[in-house]
Structure formats: C-alpha cells, structure tokens
C-alpha cells in the first residue's frame, strides 16, 4: 500500500496547482483531493527521478500570466514544465513513464461546466500531439481520489475517496 506510511520513506504531498520533481528514492510523491482536476506524473526508472503536477484547469486562457507563475495549475503549461524540470534533474525523455489520475465528471453538464471532462480532453490531446502514451491512468468517474508514486520502484496507484483499497496503475 503506497497510501499508508512506510518506515524510512517520506510521503511528499503536492497540493492543487503544485508541481514537484524529486530524485530521492525514499520519497513517495502523492497528491490528494483530485476531483475535476488531473494529476499527471512522470518517472524515469533508471535515474529514479519522478515528478507530478495537479492541474485544476486545461489551459490559462482566462489569465495567461498565471501559467508563468504557476504552471502546475494548467494541463498544458504543467506538462511542458514537468518534462523540462525532469530532464533538468537528470531524467531522459525517452525513458519517461507517464501516469494520470483524476478528471472526475459531473452529470449532464454543459461543456463549460464539465471541467473534469475538459481537463481529461486537454490532457489526451496534448499527450497525443507529443506522441506520449500513458503507462497507467485512472480518469473520469464521479469520485475524488488520491494518487501515489514511489520513486524507488516506480509503483503508482490511486485511492478513491470512501474506499480502503488502492488501485495499482
């Protein structure tokens, strides 16, 4: 279980709009309260460098300046910043394994109000444009979740709110 604390390992939680890259194998990166937002994580299994961001919106259309100060707030800016920071920390782009979680959807909403769907659509478009395939994903549905990535092993998993058992990705 990645969600329970392990002796000798530190859980480092990234809040909504945050982005973090880390090369300490004793760290388990995680993000909680992933509702309509999406978490995107990437991991290099050779260097054990990994990172993630927790986007709340697809793009910074309404306020482009925000993407500069907080790239992790947006799917598009977050993806670019994650890839750049990982490579600056010694990861090799071709080796990166990508994971995604979140994008909870509301029902019968107009497209403007279905932020979860807009986030997952934006993510899939961006990944396709860059030729990136997700190694594991847990997207959509109607439930908030948490995401975990162990930097030592590359294990990734999600835990749905109200559930006890993790789902491995």
């Amino acid at each position: 279980m990645l969600s329970t604390s392990r002796a000798g390992y530190e859980q480092r939680s990234i809040p909504i709009s945050g982005l973090l890259v880390c090369d300490n194998p004793k760290v388990i990166l995680c993000s909680h309260s992933i509702g309509m937002g999406v978490v995107v994580a990437a991991y290099d299994p050779v260097t054990h460098v990994g990172g993630l961001f927790h986007a709340m919106l697809p793009d910074p259309q309404v306020n482009p300046a925000r993407a500069k100060e907080k790239p992790g707030m947006f799917v598009d800016a977050g993806l670019a910043a994650l890839s750049f920071t990982l490579q600056a920390s010694g990861a090799v782009a071709a080796r990166l394994r990508y994971y995604a979680a979140g994008g909870a959807q509301v029902m019968d909403a107009s497209s403007q109000l279905n932020i979860g769907l807009r986030n997952t659509d934006a993510l899939q478009q961006r990944l396709a444009a860059q030729g990136i395939k997700l190694t594991g994903a847990h997207l959509g549905g109607h439930t908030c979740r948490s995401f975990f990535l162990a930097l030592e092993t590359g294990e990734a998993g999600v835990l749905l709110s109200g559930q006890l058992n993790e789902i491995s990705l």
Partner: protein, 282 residues
C-alpha cells in the same frame, strides 16, 4: 415512504442548532448594529468565543495587534468579518464529523462546506450581494447530509451501485431510497432552527436554484459555491461528483458559464483563508 417531518422527529442525534446564527443575521440586517448586543449574544458560549478569537487573531484574519476579547475583535475586524468567523466555528461543529453514509471521512464535509462558502462569498462581494447571507448559504448547504448519513450507511452498497452502474445522480438515489433528499432535509432543519426563509429556500433548492422562487438568487450562490468547491477537489465520499450542475444558477446570477475558471482561480487564491477555517477548533 415517511414524510420529512416524521423522519426528522425520529432522528435520535440531531446536530446541535447553531442558535446564534439566525439571531446574529437579524441583528446585522439593522442599519444601526449594536456592538454590545452582538458581543453579548456570542459571549454566552465560551467555547465559541475562544474559537472565534483564535481565528480572529490568526494570520489570515488578524489585524496588526491581536484582539484580547470579542469587543475588540468586532472593533478591529468589523461586524461582518466577526459574523463570518462565528458562522465558520458554528458550522465546523456540525460539519466536521465523518459522514459514513456518504463515505466521507472526518473533516471532509467541513472542507467542502468552507470552500463552498468562501467561493460563494467571493462572487457575492463582486456582484454586490449580501455577503453574510451568501456565506451562510454556502456553509450550510449540505447540512442535510449530516442527518441522512446514519440512515444511508446501511444502504451504502446500493448507493454505490446506483450511482456508478445506473448513473443516477446522488440526489436522485437519496430520493429513491428515502423518498426525499439531503437538500430538502437541510431546508427543513434550518426552518426548525428559525433561520430566515431565504436561507431555508436556498438550502432546500441548492441543486435546482430555479425552483427557489423569490430566493433563487441565494440558492444560485449556494449552487455555484458548491460547484467551485467540487472543481477544486473539495468533494469527497462515494460518487460525490454524480451531481448535475445547473446552467440556470449562472443565468440567475447574471454570470457567463465560462466565468467558472476565473472564480475557481479567485477561490484558489483564498486558500490561506480556507485553510485557516479548516483548522478551526470547535
């Protein structure tokens, strides 16, 4: 099926009534607010007073010099801010426990409610509406879940199935199982607690604000605040997102639907305030 009144009369552990809020709201509606009356109303509850002072002196609400007592807090922060702190502490008392029938852990409903209240308040401030009333509507919109949670615990697996397999909104599943939903129960509870009719209607219709008649605007605030809380990840438990956002809520407030991301960002910028509310001691 039982009526809501019958159901409420049989509920063993009704949450404690936040008696002070309807009275305070009434006091604040007057053009000549009497500071002494406000202070004496709050002061009779020492635990509430202590928590309000703790919040008033926290980094996000405090002025340069800490307030030693409630009178000082009112002078420094103003009635409106003190009301919001009193509402937050009263709300936290009711909304902090786990709601197992909804799969929510301790603190989950409180986080959701506080975020909804702050989000709704940000919009009300911008549109020039009654900030105290809107904050209260956002804060208490899901109070009915506190009542229904115990009953729904035994039917939890049915709810999971109906929302995930049959794709029914959570509200409809409640109606199918009980004959009524948490919004109706919340409205009835607020009426029992002597909250003003506007808040009763807003809570009862927060999922369909266009059904709230003359109080549609307040219900729309509760709806949009709720939606923003969800969009920021503050929606917990089983199938919490199995809800239907109302385009009517945006129309009622005169907002374009594409303004949602903007208000999400404004609410995100108030996370410090929201975090301070999360940590409130009750």
């Amino acid at each position: 099926m039982t009526s809501i009144e019958d159901y409420l009369s049989r509920v063993k552990n009704l949450p404690p009534a936040p008696r002070i809020l309807p009275e305070l709201l009434q006091l604040l509606r007057r053009s000549d607010v009497d500071a002494d009356k406000v202070v004496s109303l709050v002061k009779y509850d020492p635990a509430l007073t202590a928590s309000v002072l703790q919040l008033a002196n926290s980094a996000f609400f405090g002025s340069a010099r800490p307030a030693g007592d409630l009178g000082e807090a009112v002078t420094r922060l103003g009635f409106q801010q003190v009301y919001i702190l009193v509402a937050a502490v009263s709300g936290a008392r009711n909304l902090s426990p786990a709601q197992k029938g909804y799969g929510m852990a301790s603190g989950d409903l409180w986080r959701h409610s506080a975020t909804s209240a702050v989000a709704a308040q940000i919009i009300a401030k911008e549109l020039g509406d009654d900030v105290d009333l809107v904050f209260t509507a956002g804060l208490l919109h899901d109070i009915g879940k506190v009542i229904l949670s115990d009953t729904l615990e035994s039917t939890y697996s049915v709810i999971v199935h109906e929302t995930s397999q049959n794709r029914y909104p959570l509200l409809e599943v409640e109606r199918r199982i009980l004959g009524f939903d948490h919004a109706q129960v919340g409205g009835r509870l607020l009426a029992k607690w002597n909250f003003p009719p506007s808040l009763v209607a807003a809570i009862e219709h927060h999922h369909q604000p266009d059904h709230a008649g003359e109080h549609a605007r307040l219900a729309a605030y509760a709806h949009v605040g709720n939606l923003i809380a969800y969009s920021l990840g503050q929606g917990y438990g089983n199938a919490a997102y199995a809800m239907e956002p109302s385009s009517a809520a945006f129309r009622i407030l005169g907002l374009a639907e594409d303004s949602l991301p903007n208000y999400m960002m404004h609410t995100f910028d108030q996370m410090g305030v929201i975090e301070a509310l999360f940590r409130v001691k009750t």
